[in-house]
Symmetry: C2
């Protein structure tokens, strides 16, 4: 934990760093943060201990990198769906897609960001900040869609789109958490309905 982490400057270095982060992310998703050992990460990457410690100062920094990569992946995965969020129908499609994904995954895993939050947020400031950043980007995308609706007069004038975006994100996260714990995608369906109630409650 003495040496500082190094950014890779060569193509090979970037590839190695990427393999390590992906392996760590996979192991965390599979076994949880507690179940991920650095040796396992090296084995799975594949990479060696010195490579891991070359790019990361230690476990904490690796976990933070996983948090960042996870946020990136989640946002990238729903980017096109979120672009649609500027209309009521688009919002319905977006929320329906989340429900469908939960059904397809048999209600496992919950939200990748939310799951990490429960495991990291309270105990590692760097990881927490990475997750805050992820939620901020998510919420900003929702807000952008709401603003588009507001501009077209779909929402009542004076609607607090910032709050509404936060509430919708909260409903989604709560729904995903209950879905995961109860192993029931119906929980996400109800949460999606709740988000739509909040949205429709603000329509003109």
């Amino acid at each position: 934990m003495v040496g500082m982490a190094t950014e890779p400057t060569t193509e090979r270095g970037r590839a190695t760093r990427g393999r390590i982060v992906r392996a760590a992310a996979g192991l965390i998703a599979e076994r949880g943060v507690a179940g991920m050992s650095l040796d396992d990460v090296c084995l799975q990457a594949p990479a060696s201990k010195s490579q891991l410690y070359h790019y990361f100062s230690g476990r904490d920094e690796l976990q933070q990198a996983v948090a960042e990569a996870t946020c990136e992946a989640v946002m990238a995965g729903q980017a096109t769906l979120l672009d649609d969020f500027g209309t009521l129908e688009g919002a319905e499609r977006y929320l329906g897609a989340i429900v469908a994904l939960q059904q397809q995954r048999q209600a496992r895993g919950g939200c990748p960001i939310g799951s990490l939050a429960g495991q990291l947020a309270e105990h590692h400031e760097g990881s927490r900040r990475a997750l805050v950043d992820g939620f901020d980007r998510w919420e900003a995308a929702l807000r952008t869609g709401l603003e588009a609706m507001a501009e077209r007069g779909v929402l009542r004038p004076g609607t607090d789109v910032a709050s509404l975006a936060a509430q919708i994100l909260g409903a989604i996260q709560g729904g995903l958490l209950l879905t995961q714990v109860r192993r029931d995608p119906g929980q996400m369906r109800q949460a999606a309905d709740a988000a739509l109630v909040l949205l429709r409650g603000a329509t003109a």
Copy 2:
């Protein structure tokens, strides 16, 4: 992990088991599931290894006991507030109390049940079931309040109180998660407002 767990039959045994669970719960709250070692639990309880393994088959069973105790504590802590949930004003008081608690705690810790969910639900079936039980009891309490409102004609006839209860619980959990990650009690305020919107949307 070979021996099965034993229920204590004597007063002293129950006290010891209780000390162990409380110590484990405290350490998990402080450092997370990953950061709790059984040696630390014994040190803090105080108790000895053989006592721990006398009452629990191993780490997993101890964690499950912590999950059960946490659910119990959370429900006991809000029992009187939840009794109030049978009126609109009572519901406002209840949600306001959650917000106030988050402010008082400086947005730390989130929901004890929800936090455990993120760390345990995906990886230990027994713990998951304990958490499901906690959420079920919570939701049932909300539903009881909603049914009281429905009977008194506060809610529109035909309101699906079961779904509404799940949605309100989801809003609360989502709000607590965002509060914890963002370290901002305002997140819980917005979630509480969202829950009230859902509730008022069902009033006659």
